[in-house]
């Protein structure tokens, strides 16, 4: 093999490898992208059913109901405009509190209940997830007494 052929061989090998990796990456990407919807968007019917996405907002005070016999929890999340009911099975994060901003991953079922597979709360009481703060600011619903999430 000449030097040139050898170089071409190596280069084409790398190109094939990288395209394979890119293919893997993009396929995995498509399947695993999680979109973010606000409760207002969900109320307007923009969110898909049967497809996982993320929703965020403030936990409505007084809405958290724990099942006495199991680990089922129900609570409402609001962005000021609309609320969405969330059902979760398991242990909520340490910083989950009423009035606190959270983000939840899950699916919307046919009845319009958001069945969460994950609930995330930030480890900082001043904190509001940027997505939540953004959407509330846009709608003009950011509560005045809520400490700015920008430290």
């Amino acid at each position: 093999m000449t030097r040139r052929q050898r170089q071409m061989f190596v280069v084409s090998g790398i190109v094939i490898g990288v395209s394979f990796a890119a293919f893997l990456a993009l396929t995995a990407f498509q399947k695993n992208l999680l979109y973010f919807y606000t409760p207002t968007q969900i109320a307007a019917g923009e969110a898909p059913t049967g497809y996982a996405f993320r929703v965020g907002g403030l936990v409505v005070p007084g809405s958290v109901k724990r099942d006495p016999d199991s680990l089922n929890v129900h609570f409402d999340v609001t962005d000021g405009g609309a609320t969405v009911a969330i059902a979760y099975f398991g242990i909520l994060p340490d910083l989950f509190r009423e009035g606190q901003g959270i983000i939840s991953v899950g699916q919307l079922n046919a009845a319009g209940l958001f069945v969460a597979s994950e609930v995330l709360a930030k480890h900082d009481e001043n904190y509001m997830p940027p997505e939540v703060a953004d959407s509330m600011k846009k709608d003009g619903h950011l509560p005045i007494d809520y400490k700015s999430w920008k430290k």
Partner: protein, 659 residues
């Protein structure tokens, strides 16, 4: 008074950095020895001033000076002294100061261990490091001054984030930064070589130990972070593909590629341009990591600074460093030529393949980390990329890396014959396949093909590492002589590859055979998982220095033996944060993990119980890899390269000489 002193010291450090970069770089370009000679004393003086600045901040923490804004935000008088001191890097400003201090430390190290290098080369290296330092110090002074005072100081501080009140978190940031910033040395060596036109084997030999040391710290820092996340976050996971974790993992992958590529440049004089590029990428990714963590664009545990001004500053710094160094590379790379020849099938090309795979892996992580940020910045919607993406992309890219890591050491340089290597290793590979399948079938699940494949790879990695070591040893008449005649870097490589095998076993078995139960438990109730019986005996109230806790009492029955586990739910007084403190019974072959959830009615609690097989092997593997790196660094030829003017033999390698 003390904080102002620190502030002045910081400004003095910036002045020193200016001197350290301007005169030596100009001197090296013009050939003025006196100007070049300024580099070392200026670098040392810069470090001295940074130590003073850091000491002043530490003193403010130790003496509870809440008139300093940063201290008031991150400390409290009831915080124990050791956490008050570690709180120095518990927030944004202080951790950037730590970054600068560590850069100063690396600068000091370069001034000490560079006696064997040409004067103009040292001047350029220190000059480039000075430039980086200027950027960071300006960033601290202009956007995040840790010494800012409060007009009306509060009576007490806001306390340190409870998550950071932990030994792992005390050590993790300095170690990680040692790695991040250490890559700036490799970067400066590369840029200095580009500037001076001295890209050769000698440059690679000098650059290698520095890169290795940085890599060792990075490995240790990441391992520590993962271990901390496991026991402190209360979720039992060890890696979350969190953007901040990715930020530390990408430089690690590229640094790993760099170590391998440097070895080719050193031994064979090939891949010069590629090696330089990797050095630039590795440090750029370190800076990018700093940007991601510090700019507040991320939703993460780590993202405590959310000031757009800061983000913009780091972004500009990033653009200057990456843009500038790539521009220089584009100017100089065409003059860099490899004059060595090697065949298609050769160790050189296998190492190139390993490099391409590692860099592609880093690239795919970069895509998954940055894509959501870019979409958001362009206003195209908010998305996030979850762990399934990373798992799906990463595993197929890493599998060939494991195969290569086993087989490449057995290929000769220059030209190899696949047939010969196959003849030598065919039986070994078959043996590994049988062992992998057999182990899985006997101990786990006879139908689990993924585990079989992964265990086969792990066994293959370990067996081939030992096999290639023994075949090197066999070249000598007696095995003792053979063992002695091997250089430490051979042992280092063997150990690092063994560590990778150990890591892979841990990842596979803990990933596929963990048992998890989230249950409601009333006092007296028993839950069984994986042959262990957990009995909940109730909770009691415990007082800590700055928290109160509900302390659970669990009895675990494992066969004939029984022991107690005490997980806690802590409530920190100042920030009124709840914290889960998991209780773990560690073991070689499994960890038992109990975490308290929330109190329920009648003294019952929601409880998380895990049995995680072989999870300790993950961090064990990281430590073994690190030990391999240390062995390689201690190789004699680097010490000789660093100090050619000294003829003494270090005591530890005296036996080598005697043999």
């Amino acid at each position: 008074m003390i904080p102002e002193l620190g502030h002045i010291a910081l400004i003095m450090a910036l002045m020193m950095a200016l001197i350290q970069s301007s005169f030596p770089l100009a001197g090296a370009a013009q050939g003025i020895p006196v100007w070049m000679a300024v580099a070392k004393p200026a670098g040392r003086a810069q470090f001295l001033f940074l130590i003073v600045a850091f000491g002043c901040l530490a003193f403010s923490f130790a003496s509870n000076d809440f008139s300093v804004l940063y201290v008031a935000q991150h400390s409290n008088s009831s915080l124990p002294l050791h956490y008050r001191l570690s709180a120095v890097w518990g927030g944004h400003e202080g951790s950037m100061l730590l970054w600068a201090l560590i850069l100063g430390l690396w600068t000091l190290a370069v001034t000490i261990f560079s006696r064997g290098l040409a004067a103009d080369f040292v001047a350029r290296v220190l000059g480039v490091m000075g430039l980086v330092s200027i950027g960071i110090l300006l960033f601290i002074l202009l956007t995040s001054n840790p010494f800012e005072r409060l007009a009306s100081p509060p009576a007490d501080g806001n306390d340190l984030n409870p998550l950071l009140q932990d030994f792992g978190m005390v050590v993790h940031p300095p170690m990680l930064y040692m790695g991040y910033v250490g890559l700036s040395v490799a970067f400066s060596f590369a840029v200095a070589a580009l500037l001076g036109g001295t890209l050769d084997s000698a440059w690679a030999r000098w650059s290698r130990p520095w890169t290795l040391v940085a890599w060792i710290f990075l490995t240790f820092g990441i391992t520590l972070g993962s271990w901390w996340a496991y026991y402190e976050l209360g979720w039992g996971g060890w890696w979350f593909w969190d953007p901040v974790e990715n930020a530390s993992f990408m430089p690690w992958l590229v640094a790993t590629a760099l170590i391998h590529s440097l070895s080719v440049t050193e031994k064979r004089g090939a891949f010069k341009a590629w090696t330089v590029l990797l050095a630039i990428f590795a440090f750029s990714l370190s800076l990018l990591g700093t940007f991601l963590v510090r700019s507040g664009v991320l939703t993460s545990v780590h993202a405590f600074a959310t000031d757009p001004g800061r983000g913009l500053f780091i972004l500009m710094l990033l653009a200057i460093v990456i843009g500038g160094s790539l521009f220089l590379y584009a100017l100089r790379a065409p003059t860099v030529q490899d004059h060595v020849r090697y065949a298609l099938v050769s160790k050189e090309n296998l190492l190139l393949l390993n490099n391409v795979l590692l860099v592609t892996a880093a690239g795919s992580i970069l895509l998954g980390t940055l894509y959501p940020l870019i979409l958001d910045a362009l206003g195209l919607g908010k998305i996030s990329v979850g762990p399934p993406y990373f798992d799906a992309v990463f595993a197929p890219l890493m599998a060939p890396v494991f195969v290569l890591a086993g087989i490449a050491p057995m290929f000769p340089w220059r030209q190899a014959s696949i047939r010969k290597v196959l003849a030598r290793t065919g039986k070994l590979a078959l043996g590994c396949l049988i062992t992998g399948i057999g182990l899985t079938a006997v101990f786990w699940n006879p139908r689990d093909i993924a585990t079989m494949a992964a265990l086969t790879l792990a066994v293959w990695l370990a067996a081939s590492a030992l096999f290639s070591l023994t075949s090197r040893v066999r070249l000598r008449e007696h095995w003792r002589e053979g063992l002695r005649s091997q250089s430490r870097s051979v042992y280092g490589m063997t150990a690092a590859h063994l560590g990778l095998a150990v890591f892979l076993v841990g990842v596979t078995l803990s990933g596929r055979y963990s048992v998890e139960k989230t249950v409601r438990m009333a006092p007296g109730e028993t839950v069984e998982i994986a042959d262990y019986r957990f009995t909940f005996l109730g909770v009691s109230r415990v007082e800590g220095p700055n928290y109160v806790a509900s302390r659970g009492d669990f009895e675990v029955q494992a066969g004939a033996t029984a022991f107690r586990l005490h997980p806690e739910k802590r409530s920190y007084r100042v920030q009124r944060n709840m914290m889960t403190e998991a209780a773990i019974d560690p073991g070689w072959s499994r960890d038992l993990y109990v975490a308290l959830g929330e109190p329920m009615e009648n003294g019952a609690w929601s409880v998380r119980l895990y049995c995680k097989p072989f999870i300790r092997w993950i961090w064990g593997g990281g430590l073994v890899m690190m030990a391999g790196g240390m062995l390689s660094v201690s190789d004699r030829r680097y010490r000789l390269a660093a100090k050619p003017d000294e003829s003494w033999q270090p005591a530890s390698s005296a036996s080598n000489v005697a043999a």
